[in-house]
Point group: C2
């Protein structure tokens, strides 16, 4: 544990030499953060360097979180997540942070710290760490266990250097002296990272909420947070996901009451859809089921492996006998069965979807079954979830979702939680992170409302560099590369945008291929042009249109000066322009036109 | 006005002759609905016919509402709406109800009654009415004015027979004696339809809520509704959109307080995004602005024309001088300007989107501008609206949305509203409509909780026929055609599904065209196969893959028995299978493979 120092530490005076430049802190002058970080002695020349902070992913989206912190020769990363693709990115599996800035700097990466085991914080690891030269990874045990489980899919498992930390560890990574503190979220072993640097202390919250009655873990360590605030915090980088919502986030144990009530009263089976990563929820559900003398079947690979991890590491404690194999489910009376499964977002191949569509081998829905959506709906998934509910109701199930009853507690700080964190840490600068731009803005407004000067609130973009020196921070206009990097069946690429644009165009109005076969000697058409179209119009209803088009292309080619055939590009463009214009006039559609000239 | 009769009318006994079959009503025996409908005399043989009710659109979605009511030779339709396409329907403008059942029955359509002027109730009119032989359309004045305005885009305006009704009119359409009653929604002239038939009275609510303090119109006519209930109602068909939400729907005037506060305090311009069809909201906004001495600029064609209609018909009353042209906007001090515009759902070309992207000619956002989203987010639009908010914040605007403040009141009945309607009308049967299947179920649960027997609650699918005879209703298994009918640039078609499937496939993994040119005489390849791909892989990164593919196709063709060329289908399939398999092995993608064999 770090030693605490009185708030009036004299070395604080080293901050803000010019009174004009010195920004007004929240309520009291900021502390000198380094004074109490015993491992770090600042050398006289240290201020020629600057502390550089850039968020490579997570400032313009919820997902693909990654923060870079650099001082002199030393670089650390916090989190390495993935993001799920938008609707207009068909065929993409996910998006990961852009590591181009680190090309050639691999040896300077002292470590990667992972705040917790959710995919938007760990999902980039298998794809990116190999290219970074396998720097060491530091996280709490459950986080690491989930990371390792995921690595099983990859061949280079042994090259990863994954280290468990303890919540009160000090970690020395180059110029950085690193500590942690416990926060609540909806997965255990969630932590915030305290990075003591020669320029001051940066606190990175990870994903967090304050839960005074959490499940299976202590509440966030307010005393510890207060002490860190007391030592002085240069900058707080904090979760913005739910900051636009007033009040405090719901406690995990509050919804436990509702869930217990539902499971107690169920006359048939209870099937609960949740993220496999909501380990606090799953723990509660299993424990409630055990208490009520029911058995639990888990659905979904990640659900099973996460529960296994949590049990192995002692986070979940239950009699293993209550966990039954899905194939045994019919051996128990309906009202003794609880199913916990993936798919509450309507994910295509997840268990709940397969149960709904009747494709699940072991569970066929019957009237009397109750399906509970114990999750919020991720923006963009609303229609899919609505359709899933329709299907479940059609199969005779009762459906309970969060609009009807509190069956889900969010994992992210709401406005009052943010206020408490700011009050405890009293940072000089506030950097909202983890959210769309508008979420960052609304999070920033909270600090402004509490009196933080606007110029100390950095609403940055992905890659935008923040520099801190002598107690003063600047949000620079320098941007590190942060373009999307896509992962699909082919691997990792940042050039997929071209392909995506084509897919979007094809999706919109389809395409038409025109093949003209001409005799090179004479420049004459050898046969009628071939026309192939897909996704454009229903051909059976538009035979005339296609015949008309064929006729016109023929005429276009026949009428062309045979000499122009020397330049196939010219004639191809001519066909493309002509056909595009013709089809638009006839159909108001703009299919992709692909003219092919075959010369024989 | 219809005359009211005492509840104990003796002819009620004609209902439910067998006590076993007679379903238990809500609280008291149902009345004989026709007794008080003076224009209808039931002939002795009337019960050989049955009353047939089918909802052609609006039971599996929110949108494309249309209800068919048939008795003997007589058919009426209620509403003829459109639905906006789902994400997986690229290139589709909208979806309209399927009229196939009415083919050959056009002369039996006695009329189309439109409950209110929203697109999900009127949008199908220009596309479908011509094919139905232009049956007469009946609606209240504002509804008709909006219908006519929309017809301006079509050439056959003069053939439409559009008739204004008054709220207390009786309308005789064949076997049906039709009345109306006023309900609240968020557009004026919203009405419910009371269809007195030889088999009893069916009440169709349209879209509704109870608003005790509505804006610019009276509250729903509770006395009238109670009287209709008193006469006896066979079946109530009612709006399910918000029935899953507890409590009463917010009053339009309640949010007026917040909006007035926002407009009063604004130091810069206020830009309010709303649906142009939310006429109650727009009326309030204009009147508040006038009261505060501000001017109003309207953005969006439909916004302007709807306000024009509402003013012409006396629904909106304001000094015309306060409406200014968007081009004049810079002549007024910023804090005197209110802009009301379309685009709060993030619609591509709507005013708010163009303002956000900087493409709007007259309004360039400046810090100090406040943008208010005075609308809910339609499921499916969440991500688009999030991105729109990001853009607005980036341009320096303040953004107010419904998560932060009550700036929108829904137009649909919540659970307690539904309970009141059921209590006033006391129907024997309840038919939830206007919503996804799960919404219908949850609406149905309300009636069940109030004591209606489950067998009297009809959760139907689109097209599913309900039959009523001698006071007893049956939800039959007969289904009228209800497949999607698509409208796009080409017009109306119900065969677009094929094209859509292709578009979806193209969007997912793109396509590869393989062109093999062979000599018909020898069966030999004349040149290397041409390969064109779009939306599949980034070609520059995968040159080798394409070369490999070209080589393999060449070998495949060369190795084939030249005789097999006689059957081009055979060789095309061979290429398709081979290439598909090869590319999947290499890329885990399944692009659409289009083999072309050119024989010369």
């Amino acid at each position: 544990m770090i030693s605490s120092k009185p708030a009036s530490h004299p070395s604080r005076r080293r901050y803000g030499s010019s009174p004009q430049r010195r920004p007004a802190p929240l309520n009291r002058p900021p502390g000198m953060p380094l004074a109490s970080a015993p491992a770090l002695a600042s050398s006289p020349g240290v201020y020629t360097k600057k502390l550089k902070v850039a968020v490579l992913g997570g400032l313009e989206e919820v997902g693909r979180n990654c923060t870079l912190i650099e001082y002199g020769e030393d670089i650390i990363l916090i989190d390495l997540g993935l993001q799920f693709p938008e609707e207009d990115m068909p065929g993409i599996d996910y998006i990961i942070p852009n590591m181009n800035y680190l090309k050639g700097k691999e040896k300077r990466i002292r470590g990667i710290i992972i705040t917790h085991g959710h995919y938007d914080h760990i999902g980039g690891i298998p794809h990116l760490v190999p290219n970074l030269g396998y720097p060491p990874i530091y996280a709490l045990p459950i986080t690491n266990a989930i990371i390792k489980k995921r690595q099983d899919d990859f061949t280079d498992v042994n090259q990863f250097r994954i280290h468990n930390v303890k919540i009160d560890d000090h970690l020395r990574l180059g110029a950085f002296d690193i500590e942690f503190f416990h926060v609540n979220h909806n997965i255990p072993d969630s932590m915030a990272v305290v990075i003591n640097t020669p320029e001051g202390t940066v606190v990175h919250t990870g994903d967090w909420k304050f839960d005074y009655q959490p499940v299976g873990e202590p509440p966030a360590d307010l005393q510890r947070i207060a002490k860190i605030g007391d030592r002085g915090v240069l900058a707080l980088m904090s979760d913005s996901t739910n900051a636009m919502m007033p009040g405090h986030q719901t406690s995990e144990s509050e919804i436990g009451v509702n869930l217990e009530d539902l499971i107690t009263k169920a006359k048939g089976r209870i099937i609960i859809g949740a993220f496999s990563s909501l380990l606090s929820r799953i723990k509660q559900l299993i424990e409630i089921s055990e208490k009520l003398g029911k058995v639990v079947a888990l659905g979904g690979y990640s659900m099973k492996s996460n529960v296994e991890i949590a049990k192995e590491l002692g986070y979940m404690k239950f009699n293993s006998k209550i966990l039954i194999d899905m194939r045994q489910i019919d051996k128990y009376p309906m009202n003794k069965v609880v199913v916990i499964c993936t798919g509450a977002q309507g994910e295509k191949n997840a268990t709940l979807m397969r149960i709904a569509t009747g494709e699940h081998r072991e569970i066929k829905l019957v009237p009397g079954d109750t399906v509970v959506f114990s999750s919020s709906v991720i923006p963009g998934n609303e229609r899919t979830v609505q359709r899933l509910k329709d299907t479940l109701f059609r199969k005779g199930a009762e459906v309970i979702h969060h609009e009807m009853m509190d069956v889900h507690a969010g994992g992210h700080a709401k406005a009052d939680d943010v206020k408490l964190m700011l009050s405890l840490l009293k940072p000089r600068y506030f950097v909202p992170q983890h959210g769309n731009h508008f979420m960052l803005r609304l999070n920033g407004k909270i600090a402004a409302a509490m009196g933080m000067p606007k110029e100390n609130i950095f609403i940055a973009d992905n890659g935008q560099v923040m520099e801190f020196s002598k107690g003063t921070g600047v949000l620079t206009t320098t941007k590190l590369p942060s373009d999307y990097v896509f992962v699909d069946g082919l691997g990792v690429s940042d050039e997929t945008n071209v392909v995506l644009r084509d897919r979007q165009a094809l999706a919109e109005d389809g395409m038409v291929v025109i093949i003209a076969t001409v005799d090179t000697k004479t420049g004459l058409l050898i046969q009628n042009p071939d026309i192939i179209s897909r996704g454009f119009v229903y051909l059976k209803e538009h035979k005339e249109l296609i015949e008309d088009l064929r006729h016109r292309v023929k005429k276009l080619v026949v009428d062309s000066d045979p000499k122009s055939w020397a330049d196939t590009n010219y004639i191809r463009n001519k066909i493309r322009d002509y056909v595009g214009q013709f089809l638009f006039t006839k159909t108001e559609k703009r299919p992709m036109i692909l003219p092919v000239v075959i010369e024989v």
